[in-house]
Assembly symmetry: D2
Homo-oligomer: 203 residues x 4
């Protein structure tokens, strides 16, 4: 028997296990009242503006695209024809730490203008959470810390190398926001066929 050829894929599987476990935990931990307030903020908004830095910004854009498919008047902060935010608008921020500098600044400006702020974050206690009208905490199980400190740290190191930097937050935020889209479809009576028609054909 010859050994398997080529590069290993063991960590692909370990990482997939970690991610799916985390998402299941994030579902378990999802606060229903928070989700409700977040949905209501979206439904009550005159217009919706989405923002986030780095990969969180990409997650925000994926959410914004679906809101557009549902017919919401929605813009991405920083894109070319995004107009000025006004009173009555909702600004949706995606920030795992809740303290991304540029996003905190933008959030402050949005509040001064009189817009409402909705936050998707992993940190309930944070500058952005403090200034937001609706906070949706998306967070799964951190490695359960056992009695053995050394082992716990080692496990946590391994865990991080399977999902580096903000990976788990970004994936969880994307999945939870897509689940909100499913609810918004029902709440707005939208059908997939209508969403398809709004889907950009020039791209």
């Amino acid at each position: 028997m010859s050994p398997p050829r080529g590069v290993s894929t063991r960590r692909v599987h370990d990482s997939l296990d970690s991610i799916v476990d985390h998402l299941r935990g994030a579902h378990r931990d999802l606060d229903d009242a928070q989700a409700r307030r977040f949905l209501e903020a979206l439904l009550e908004a005159k217009r919706i503006f989405v923002m986030g830095a780095g990969r969180s910004g990409l997650v925000g854009r994926a959410f914004a695209m679906r809101l557009m498919h549902l017919g919401f008047p929605v813009y991405v902060v920083g894109e070319t024809t995004t107009p000025s935010v006004r009173r009555g608008d909702l600004v949706v921020a995606i920030s795992g730490s809740g303290k991304t500098l540029s996003i905190v600044e933008l959030g402050r400006t949005a509040r001064e203008i009189g817009a409402r702020l909705a936050l998707v974050t992993a940190q309930r206690q944070s500058p952005l959470a403090d200034m937001s009208h609706a906070v949706l905490v998306v967070k799964g199980p951190p490695a359960s810390t056992g009695p053995n400190d050394y082992l716990a740290r080692r496990m946590r190191g391994e865990y991080k190398s399977l999902t580096p930097l903000g990976t788990l937050f970004e994936l969880t935020a994307m999945v939870v926001l897509d689940a909100l889209i499913a609810q918004l479809m029902a709440l707005t009576g939208s059908r997939e066929s209508q969403m398809k028609k709004r889907h950009a054909v020039l791209e």
Copy 2:
């Protein structure tokens, strides 16, 4: 006792269940040889160019950002300072159907130039798959079709309204690509602290 007030969140939970189930199924179905070839194509490339339309494009950008954190020379097709593709480069396409028109055209051009093509898709049989050197099929369980045609269609309708349009493909592609990043970390001996240093501070 008064009933809970506000909008329903039932579909948020149903959608999360569908998504997590799908991801678990996609993990089960992942073809190890395909993943290996995809990783090898990334490791052998002189430079990497990522492309995709709509939300698949956003997933591609999230992947490209992590490749940059790992120190790969990587570009997103269509961004400002992305140079011309040459022989020896790898173009990574993200396309659920494998037949997105603009991406097929770009793929053809890339091949003519002598670049290699790697595809993340849900369809093994497709124009893009036919012209690619490495194809990674990411796909979970479609609603298992039972004997009762009516019921199957009804279930499928419900299923789709919980994850409209390309949602399941986009989420699965994002998760699987993040799992590949975990493997690439190990293969390139990268640590999270190094990735953090490469993380953009101006944004």
Copy 3:
């Protein structure tokens, strides 16, 4: 007297001379009837979609931003929340050659949908011009070819090195489109103060 130190700036001045000369010539050559039809197409459009490749795309975005400041419903093709084009919409294409492949494809799709097409180009005879409802040719003086072929070619080479690739078209298109904005301000009774209010504050 010591000579000036550091790098030369002679070509900065030669290039500025070439550009300003070209713009003056482009103003002289501007076809009034074309400009009128272009303005009318913009005013009659239900919604406006702007597209272009490379630097022409950036010029298009600069134009789209000003149309937004004027209150027009305007989108950039390829941005996140840009909806699908429909009958009654106007697609504005920027293409110096009038035959940029991706833009020709998008133009064809726009026409099939029943949208109108307006083109800013340097080439009156081109695939995009042939399919457009309004064509605005922006073009200044090419180096006037004299009797001496060798000299003419040499001059043209010098000329090109002062304004490489599409530089003259891109600058001329940007300037002419900004001049159309001035006319649209008057035609729509917009004031600069109103435009300032629409200017994005979050960016």
Copy 4:
């Protein structure tokens, strides 16, 4: 004889006159020593990062694209695979007022990291100018104020409606930066044919 039909184009021509006049004045006012220092900063930089808000950001991107065509290692701040700025890098900021909030913040961060800062602006006295190693002031003739204050203000109002908001700065910056490109072509011995080869074919 029937009068000409359709919308007026008078302001198109008035605006073109204003713009070409302004550009000629900006050429006259260009400080040679400033241009030289700016070119030297570009040539000495390990890597170049370009940033600007709104239309100034688009002008920056047009400049970055040409630097890429010339073979410079150049990135646009905020794009997907833009790495972290380090000591030895040059950050190029485009800001008419020299005090755009987000750009001032980014400039401060860049300086703290040990990067150099080069500014294109219309205001010599400004927060960004104060922190920059190279400042290129691009500025043409404001309406020359005559003895009659009322008339001067009225003329200035008219003037502004022909080139609203930052139009004159943005166009002047774009033209001057393109003139720097012509000089950089000579300084780096680049030919247009080489630039064409670096031009993106996938877009």
